[in-house]
Amino acid sequence: MSAGFLFVAVFLACVVEAVEALTIVLAVGLTRGWRAPAYGTGAALLVLAVVVAALGPALKLIPLHTIQLIVGGLLLVFGLQWIRKAMLRASGIKAKHDEDAIYNKEVAAASGVATKAGTFDSYSFRIAFMGVLLEGLEVAFIVLTFGTTQGNIPLAAIAAAAAIVVVVGIGVAVRAPLAKVPENTLKYVVGLLLTTFGLFWGAEGAGAKWPASDASILVLLAILAALSLGVVQLLKRGQQAHAEPAAPTVTPEMSQS
């Protein structure tokens, strides 16, 4: 896999996670003040740094085939969940991920919790900490798995950092959730990428040899994209058939009258 492909895959995945974390931090920060959310974000980043620092070197000690099998399996589990959700959203069965709606919900929740003047806002700290930690865990996982399997953790880390800098930079500039980011489409693409790499590495780790070597990645990606779009069409047709009322049966006599 080329370095460019690795960069794009990690960058896109991390943009999605960063947008979600930013929405949560902005909601509590703009509603209740920035001190506690800033501490919460900092604490979560510290925990994530410890996780990456501990797991990164440990992963290098494991044989490559075992890494490929574990990493491929986990990427597959995540990727399949993302594609499934994306297909259900694209066909209208599941509500689309709406950052504005999530932001408003967080703001309403944050406004409803009282704080004592002069005390540390533990509510804001907890919400920011959990939001950044949960989304960040996925970023850390993607960086470690892609980076270790390709033997290039620094490039994966740079791609993740670039995504976070871009998203946070825009978020700070506009001081609003990034609702215009085509998050549902991005999640679809990232789901396809995670599943493709998961299949490729997982099967290699399990002992398979791909007939076209690295070029098999592109074939897998094309097959998955085509099949998933086909499933979306099937689901849409099912939705339409369910929504339309049963058409009245027209007999020849009725049509003549």
Partner: protein, 72 residues
């Protein structure tokens, strides 16, 4: 207290990894397991096994979710 914490920790990781539908995780284990058996025990070309199993489970799980949503 510790038991409660361990339970919450386990539930968090279960939800983080398995997610909305356990069938997907099962499909991954089945697909990679079949690949390993074909490659090591039977010694035949095994590259096709994981994609076939995983994609079949993905399509099944998604169509099932669609059908459930229409019934609800």
């Amino acid at each position: 207290m510790i038991a409660k914490w361990i339970r919450a920790f386990g539930l968090f990781w279960f939800d983080f990894i398995v997610g909305d539908d356990w069938r997907l995780a099962f499909g991954v284990i089945a697909g990679l397991g079949l690949t390993a058996i074909l490659a090591h025990a039977v010694s035949v070309a095994a590259w096709w096994a994981a994609p076939v199993v995983v994609i079949a489970v993905l399509v099944w799980s998604t169509l099932l979710a669609g059908r459930k949503a229409r019934k609800a």
